[in-house]
Amino acid sequence: MSIVPKETIEVIAQSIGIPNLSPDVALALAPDVEYRLREIIQEAIKCMRHSKRTVLTTDDMDSALNLRNIEPIYGFASGDPLKFKRAIGHKDLFYLDDREVDFKEVIDAPLPKAPLDTAVVTHWLAIEGVQPAIPENPPIEAIVAPQDGKKMDHGKDDLPVDLKLPIKHVLSRELQLYFDKIGELILLRPETALFKEALLSLAKDSGLHPLVPYFSYFIADEVSRNLSNLSILFALMRVLKSLLSNPHIHIEPYLHQMMPSIITCLVAKRVGEQVSDNHWAIRDFAAKLVASICRRYGHVYHNLQSRLTKTLIHAFLDPSKALTQHYGAIRGLSALGPSVVRLLILPNLETYMQLLEPEMQLEKQKNELKRKEACRVYGSLLLAAGSCLYDRLRLFPGLLSPPDRQPWKTNKKIALTHLPKNKRKASSTLNSHQPPTKKLAVDPTGANSQFPSTDGPATSSSSGSNPNHHHSHNSSNNNSSNAGNTTNTNTNINNATGGGVHAQRVSGSAVLRQAWKEDMDAGHLLSSLHSLFGEGIFSFIQPAEMHCFI
């Protein structure tokens, strides 16, 4: 009838020393026992509520018994909830595990650690109704609705950690293996033939798209970690290049992750472990990579190139940056095309040259390494300026043919507006090119150092080396006039640095005069460049044009 069976009453009676309780008594007692139990539990629940708890403890029972003026049950006081164990073989029989404890054990045991004292800490649960995301508050995901949560994940796309989680399940075992293998190759054996095969596979295989986020993360990660390890950097850049060239991969969304690592390779202060490492090569490689990316995605992301050039020009114009960084910046800029060079490098060329020159002079820069670096920079500048000049001149293939004048006029006008700037730019740009074009470091430096004073011997010596070069291409013009012209222009320019229009007009033949008139900017460019670089620049001029200028 009641949930307390009469057997229980009998057992309890026996335990308190009433051996033969009549069944009637037990039957009558059972319901009352249940009622009293309920009563006490009800009181215990009240105590629990007033202790601001939602879990009933033995303490609550004790205080409920106290309320009823009953002796509490001793021996169950414990901070932890009691653990009941199920008796084996019985479905709903539970018992408390009450082990016998040896006194000696208790006495010998080391004192337990004192519990931490109660403390109050304070934090902002909300500021003007908005819950700040601080560790004291529960994570926001728990609060917001699921679709909001998704949105957030989407927003955090650039955090690779977030990306990995959802994709991990989709990635097949084969792809995982492939990824692991490539990673291993990059890090451990970048020189092997196998790696070349891998690059080919990366550049051609379809179905690699799921791996792109991993690769982009991997590359970014490894680049930052392995800045001192050239071979790995090279391998990583090659992988990047392969990925970029893979027609099956839609790499655009990950560009923003890849660009920083490429630029790092390009303009990092130190790449490679030793200074002797050929870090110039990786800078060149990275420059080409950057340029190719810009060409491919420049039209999709309009600010891609502008951001890139901003970064690079910043590196270039900061005199506190190392020469290696300048080199990288120049390479990067020049790889972006002659117009970039003309707009960004040439205007700053002259001032920059003034900085660079002392670095290249044997007397002023004792550090061999620094001087070498300076020469490198000089070479890169020369190359950039030269290619720019070449590009300009190439616009006038029919320089000598009058009918073609018309279209250029417009061209000229535009260019004219830039003219004063251009010149200065040009003059500073070209300086760096000599070392790479000519392996003789002494000669160009010599030419350079003499350049401001425009010594006769210097020009002649340089012209002596240069004309040979031109002659091979040139058959129609004779040697002497060529050489004479060179000297002429040279002197002219040098006399009137900057606005040498008059000088040129005076000195040139009729044809040449025509050319100067028509293409003043080109002429100016050439002249100013020449003034800065000497004859080194002439190697970039096509023979035909060369002739009409000279």
Binding site: M1, S2, P31, D32, E34, Y35, R38, E39, Q42, K46, C47, R49, H50, S51, K52, R53, T54, V55, T57, D59, S63, N66, L67, G79, P115, L116, D117, T118, A119, V120, V121, T122, H123, W124, L125, A126, I127, E128, G129, V130, Q131, E136, N137, P138, A142, I143
Partner: protein, 653 residues
């Protein structure tokens, strides 16, 4: 009698003849017959109840849809009274079976009552258990529309005469003409309390002066403002309601000086800005005289209140408060209660190891300068020497109770602290001296709650002995004893005008008591489980109460009607607090949430259609702020409307 005589004669005859075997056989047969009769009789009774009830039940469930919910209301009282009838007549087994057969019909609405009633196992329990006694003694009142009543009568007379007795004996029908009441009217919630409804009505018809104290600090503040800056006075909107309210309150509380002042206000206010009108909800309330002698405020305290009021952040449904949370760590499940002083600088915790600990948060912020700041600190001057030996502890330990501390409460200016304990006493502590000042003995059972009045000096306590008491600090005997609750008084709260206290009880009701007369002035019935927390809006008109199930009910004190029962939380609502203008209600719960509710919108709806009693307007949830597994024990708005919350970090649950 005849039967007996014949029997005796037969037996005597048999004995005389020595026919012993025949005699035995006869006796045996007789006894068997009699037991059969009694058995069949018991069977009959039980079956009658069983059949009668089940017939009524199936009929009610198959009745017309629009009247169904009214008829279903009848089932529950019939059910419990059938059960109790069976118990009363001693058919325990049958009663049990009956109870379990139909129990689940009512579990949703009346689970807690059922759990209690389930414990009734003998007729004597009926007498002993308060709930059962209460139910037996009082008639349940059920409101039915004319047609439902007719249907019910028809059915009972035709098919279920057995139930007629039960229904007649225990149910009072209140037949209303016209359409049946809508389902949303929570008639079932009140159906149980029955006759107490009459009591409720009777009590709730008493006059109640819910207005605020005249000449309160807020008022003086505004007065000062209007004096100092004539352009910055109350808007004209504010003047009008005050005028209205004056009429309402029969003018008996409005002194001439007040109305003079108001005239002046109105004159200036006609051109004044309306910006303040919205915020000064407090001043809209009518003014009442205090029936208690109130302590004088020291001028410097008044100044600081002025300062606070001037810097008060305006809160509404768009501008939510900032919440600062005090987390108690390493409490080892020992924290029973907490309190925060008016400015949030002091935090007190009452522990089950009978200690009270007080943290000075200003000091904790700069532990390095702790010793210096003690000297400077206004409240710490007296205890310099005492503090030095307790410098190691970041808190001051108050020991004196001999049982778990169930509540702590700061006096309005945080110079005193009250604690109540299961040792039946209330202790008054000085926060300046960190020492016990008085021990108040009077309750006979654990004191669940103790609260300082808004002006200090007086305090109210609630106890397991089913009484609430009002004390003053200087007397060790209570000034008033409020008796009337049918079970423990679990929580107590002061009305802002100090003329009333409200108490929440385990009997699921909330009562409002007149402090002066000690009489119950309002009875609020509507909760379905024990009431754990109370809060009264600053304008003194509304009250919020929270219970064990997570329900929050807003009440209109003047009418005694509930405004909006809502399932605010999933678990016990430990604490409630109104913002200073009464625009927001904050609730803290065991489900580790602080929730902010929009009071204004629901109250506005109520004010406009006061005549319609339907609790259509509901509290609107503005924001739920979850904590990191920290049940919220205490909430407190400062005068500047910063919300402080406190709770103990519960580990591993």
């Amino acid at each position: 009698m005849e039967d007996e005589d014949i029997e005796k004669a037969v037996l005597a005859y048999l004995r005389k003849k020595g026919l012993n075997l025949t005699e035995l056989a006869l006796q045996e047969e007789q006894s068997r017959l009699s037991s059969d009769a009694s058995h069949s009789r018991s069977q009959n009774v039980a079956d009658r109840y069983f059949d009668g009830y089940s017939r009524l039940r199936s009929w009610a469930y198959n009745s017309l849809d629009s009247y169904k919910h009214e008829l279903l209301c009848v089932l529950y009282p019939v059910f419990i009274h059938c059960f109790m009838d069976l118990v009363e007549q001693g058919y325990m087994q049958e009663a049990r079976t009956f109870f379990h057969t139909f129990r689940e019909d009512h579990e949703m609405m009346h689970l807690r009552d059922l759990q209690k009633l389930e414990g009734i196992l003998s007729p004597s329990h009926l007498e002993e258990m308060e709930l059962a006694r209460f139910l037996r003694q009082n008639k349940v009142k059920i409101r039915l529309c004319q047609y439902s009543y007719g249907l019910l009568l028809q059915f009972i007379h035709k098919k279920s005469l057995d139930m007629l007795g039960v229904i007649n004996q225990h149910i009072n029908f209140e037949v209303t003409p016209g359409q049946p009441t809508s389902i949303s009217d929570d008639s079932e919630a009140v159906s149980l309390v029955g006759a107490s409804q009459d009591l409720e009505r009777e009590i709730n018809q008493k006059e109640l002066h819910w207005g605020l104290l005249e000449d309160s600090v807020e008022e003086r503040m505004e007065k000062a403002l209007s004096d100092s800056d004539k352009t910055e006075v109350e808007g004209n909107k504010e003047g009008d309601p005050e005028e209205n309210n004056k009429k309402k309150t029969d003018g008996n509380k409005q002194g001439t000086s007040v109305s003079n002042k108001k005239k002046k206000d109105k004159m200036v206010g006609a051109t004044g800005k309306t910006t303040r009108s919205e915020t000064s909800m407090v001043s809209v309330a009518p003014r009442v005289k205090s029936e208690l002698t109130l302590p004088q405020l020291p001028p410097e305290v008044e100044l600081s209140i002025f300062e606070d009021l001037r810097n008060r952040a305006q809160l509404n449904s768009l501008a939510l408060p900032s919440v600062s949370f005090y987390t108690f760590r390493h409490t080892h499940n020992g924290l029973n209660c907490s309190a925060i002083s008016h400015d949030g600088s002091l935090v007190a915790g009452g522990f089950s190891d009978s200690s009270v600990k007080v943290w000075d948060m200003a000091k904790i912020g700069q532990p390095g300068r702790a010793s210096n700041s003690q000297g400077e600190n206004r409240s710490m001057q007296g205890m310099h020497s005492l503090a030095s030996d307790e410098a190691k502890r970041p808190y001051s330990l108050l020991q004196g109770h001999s049982g778990p501390v169930y509540s702590v409460s700061f006096s309005p200016f945080a110079d005193f602290l009250l604690s109540s304990s299961s040792d039946n006493t209330i202790r008054l502590w000085s926060t300046r001296l960190n020492a016990n000042l008085v021990c108040y003995k009077g309750h006979n059972f654990p004191v669940w709650d103790a609260q300082f009045s808004p002006v200090g000096h007086y305090f109210a306590t609630a106890s397991h002995d089913r009484t609430a008491r009002v004390w003053s600090m200087e007397r060790i005997q209570p000034l008033r004893v409020m008796a009337g609750h049918l079970s423990d008084v679990d929580c107590v709260q002061w009305h802002p005008n100090c003329n009333y206290i409200v108490t929440g009880s385990s009997d699921k009701t909330v009562r409002l008591w007149d402090v002066q007369s000690g009489e119950c002035a309002r009875l609020f019935i509507g909760h379905r489980s024990m009431v754990l927390s109370l809060a009264i809006s600053p304008d003194g008109r509304f009250m919020a109460s929270g219970d064990e199930d997570g329900t929050i009910i807003m009440w209109d004190l003047s009418t005694g009607r509930s405004v909006s029962p809502i399932m605010g939380h999933n678990s016990c609502v430990w604490t409630l607090a109104f913002s200073c203008e009464g625009t927001l209600l904050a609730s803290g719960s065991a489900d580790c949430m602080v929730k902010l509710w929009d009071v204004t919108s629901s109250m506005k709806a109520l004010k406009t259609d006061e005549s319609i009693s339907g609790p259509t307007s509901r509290l609107r949830l503005l924001k739920a702020l979850p904590t990191k597994s920290t049940p919220v024990y205490n909430l407190r708005f400062t005068r500047r409307n910063l919300l402080f919350a406190a709770g103990a970090l519960s580990v591993g649950s």
